[in-house]
């Protein structure tokens, strides 16, 4: 876990806590908090998904998440950023990722939150395996 007074980054195999995450980013100066909660969906392209497994390259993933937080602070007037990602096996409805951002005004919070989750999906070395009734596949691995 990397936790300064302004940035809180965690990769864990324990369940994520929505309330604790949103509370951590709250400051007296905040006018709004934007929270993105990723959840495990029960289907991919019409095919039933039984569960997911997430694997992280822990040290590099932490660094890439720190870079995303730094870039967000450089682009928008934000107060606090939290990025928590889960690893291991997750069932349908469980939470693989929480992004929480606080800012004085909502525009910055909304925009930064979207930037953080979109960039995380592109650059952070974490991998998702989908388990179906008839097999399993690493997402995006093959064309």
């Amino acid at each position: 876990m990397m936790s300064s007074s302004l940035v809180n980054i965690l990769i864990t195999d324990a369940p994520l806590d929505i309330t604790a995450c949103s509370q951590w980013v709250m400051t007296p100066e905040s006018g709004g908090i934007d929270v993105f909660i990723g959840t495990v969906r029960n289907a991919t392209k019409g095919k039933t998904v039984l569960r997911l497994e997430f694997e992280a390259y822990q040290t590099m993933a932490m660094r890439e998440m720190e870079k995303i937080a730094t870039a967000a602070f450089e682009q928008w007037p934000l107060q606090k950023i939290l990025i928590h990602h889960r690893t291991g096996v997750l069932q349908v409805g469980e939470i693989p990722v929480i992004i929480a951002v606080s800012a004085a005004h909502r525009d910055a919070a909304f925009t930064a939150c979207r930037y953080i989750i979109d960039t995380l999906k592109q650059t952070v070395p974490i991998w998702k395996k989908e388990f179906f009734e008839d097999g399993e596949v690493w997402v995006a691995a093959h064309p």
Binding site: G38, F54, E55, A56, Y57, T59, M60, A61, R63, H85, P96, V97, I117, L120, K121, Q122, T123, V124, P125, I126, W127, K128, K129, W138, V139, A140, A141, H142, P143
Partner: protein, 80 residues
């Protein structure tokens, strides 16, 4: 020099191990590493793409690899 390559996701399945040892020339680059890897593990060529990380940073094809570097193969990421 012998380099340990960490593998994640589908790369771990291709290597059938979380890491492998690879013998490389002393002036090996990321590009030559990928070539050597693909000779030994042709299934890597079937991936949509994959990158190499050196010391926890995405590396460029022309970057050199040194004896004690932490090298990892990064198949397409899919977190979130």
């Amino acid at each position: 020099m012998t380099i340990t390559i960490l593998a994640f996701g589908v790369a771990k399945d291709i290597f059938n191990a979380p890491s492998i040892q690879l013998e490389l020339m002393n002036d090996a680059t990321v590009m030559s590493l990928k070539y050597t890897l693909e000779q030994e593990y042709p299934r890597l060529k079937q991936l949509s793409s994959y990158l190499i990380a050196v010391n926890n940073e995405y590396a460029l094809p022309e970057d050199y690899i040194h004896q004690r570097d932490e090298v990892a193969i990064i198949p397409p990421v899919s977190g979130g």
